[in-house]
Symmetry: C2
Amino acid sequence: MPPLPFTYHIEATDGAARAGTFHTPHGPIMMPVFAPVGTQATVKAVTPRDLKDVGASLILANTYHLYLRPGDDIIREMGGLHDFMGWGGPILTDSGGFQVWSLSSINEIDDDGVTFQSHLDGSRHRLTPERSIEIQQNLGADIIMCFDECAPPLDYDYNVKALERTHQWAGRCQAAWSADGRQALFGIVQGGTFDDLRRQSAQALVSMDFPGYAIGGLSVGESKEDMCRTLEVVTPLLPAGKPRYLMGVGAIADMIEGVRRGIDMFDCVLPTRLARHGAALTWKGQLNLHNAVHARDGRPLDAECDCYTCRHFSRAYLRHMAKSKEILGSILLSLHNLHMLIRLADEMRAAITEQRFDDYAARRLAQLKTSK
Amino acid sequence: MPPLPFTYHIEATDGAARAGTFHTPHGPIMMPVFAPVGTQATVKAVTPRDLKDVGASLILANTYHLYLRPGDDIIREMGGLHDFMGWGGPILTDSGGFQVWSLSSINEIDDDGVTFQSHLDGSRHRLTPERSIEIQQNLGADIIMCFDECAPPLDYDYNVKALERTHQWAGRCQAAWSADGRQALFGIVQGGTFDDLRRQSAQALVSMDFPGYAIGGLSVGESKEDMCRTLEVVTPLLPAGKPRYLMGVGAIADMIEGVRRGIDMFDCVLPTRLARHGAALTWKGQLNLHNAVHARDGRPLDAECDCYTCRHFSRAYLRHMAKSKEILGSILLSLHNLHMLIRLADEMRAAITEQRFDDYAARRLAQLKTSK
């Protein structure tokens, strides 16, 4: 009998780090996992078959963008996001909240919801917790997120008020959600960099009993110390048997520090965005392919990497692609950068299973440091 | 024993149409063939493995562009064009002549060669027949082309003079070329739309005995009638046992009319350029994905097509990609458009082998016409 959807099996732990499997209607997600971001129903410059080839299991899509264009009604009509974008694996959609706060012009926030203007054409729209869930049901992702208010991380008073609203909205999202085994709704712990608020938020959401928990509002400019301390405050309060998702984080060192503190899931636009700017992630730090030093360099981007790009193309070629502004440069660097972070997650999983996570983490962090 | 490089075996003819195999050091080319264009050492938006997947055998690269950037010396140092761009199949480079005339600012033309300014940075360069061959040897393509003068197709007096120079330069290219079995040098028949000049050009080049012949200076704005008549004048003068390449042609109807008149090889930037502008080739004509009529259309681009794009993505999704200016739109439409023309060549080959070329041509041309 197949495992029940949205059950999380932890297979090994090493300190606070966990290796597990989260079951979804579109297949299992082996954790820790890095999820590539497909904002507009495409991971930029990567076909679904290449995404599979780099080892992706879970991918993200953005509710705000897809609601505005092409519209969640069209995507529902086309059979939902999986069919629409040709991705048969698990998908997660965010709530639209973060983009409303970061991309649109906000006209009005009240306890009911948010009225905002589209960043595309200035048209007026309203999102509420209920509407966010409805849109996410139309999109049909496996994992959907609670609609929350994103507060500036350093403003205590603002965070207190935003947190209260976020918790009320989480309750309304849960009430609007159909717990029919088709979609799992995750709660989002907020509270900026304030330990008491983070504790309060974790406890409030845990008492609502969601199938999984995200930590939001990090990687928005706070210090590494603040990020790590916040994780140390929050993760012990979350139930061990549910997945934990650190939203918007995807730097190599941050993923290592996250897993060390009990995080299972990551997502970030960085690997594909860097690629489009001609930069490659390597175990020894970033390479800027525009740099003339690569012009006659026949070596692959990273000596340890076995991705399609590293197996077939030299730094000299990738520099030529970047200098010539060729789309293939974005494609090949995206494949490589995604492969790096997916492999990092896989390597952490293996290290946890074999009880050698600290050694692994130390080695990878030392490699990054020596290159600076 | 493997066939000698650059021998052409004709397997079937049907009227003037031919099905054959041209052997190169990087594998056989089954004719008729459509060659995708990889101007800057990349077929735009397509990885080499996807290029193989759409059925490409021969691809083109442009000497002018690669000489200017990254430089033919770098490509030679990186093991030649095949290694540099990760394409193990046959490659053809043009001579650079056409781009000097169409892209650069020309400072001086004399009997020895051309001095021009780069379209990239205005730097001054000189190409001669000998230098073009040297660059093409550095690039290392399987098929290389004679450096010629491209004349305006309707100016008789200019064409008379340009033709004399083109024939002299063809002789100098042949003298500079090493007939070592590594690269085949093709001559280019010029002469605009003037039958007497075309005849004169074909006879002059055939007497030099090249391993293959191209017909240049067509598809530059002349009428379809002029193009077809010119082919009817030229192809009967070319040796039956050598491949015939109609340069720069890649519309469905033009390829059919070319094969009907004994052409074996085609190349064109159109399928990938159209893709980047959101247009798809179909057997019933072009689709513009920006058109609102596609917004809720769940059908594939073409009902008969079995390419990756048509197997997995709807017109609605491809329209969303085009409207959102997503790179994946260019990728998926490029794959489809290339697959269409490669399949057209394959279908013509099968029809010739089975002695039903005229029926096949009539059916495809009728499909295109009914859609207008």
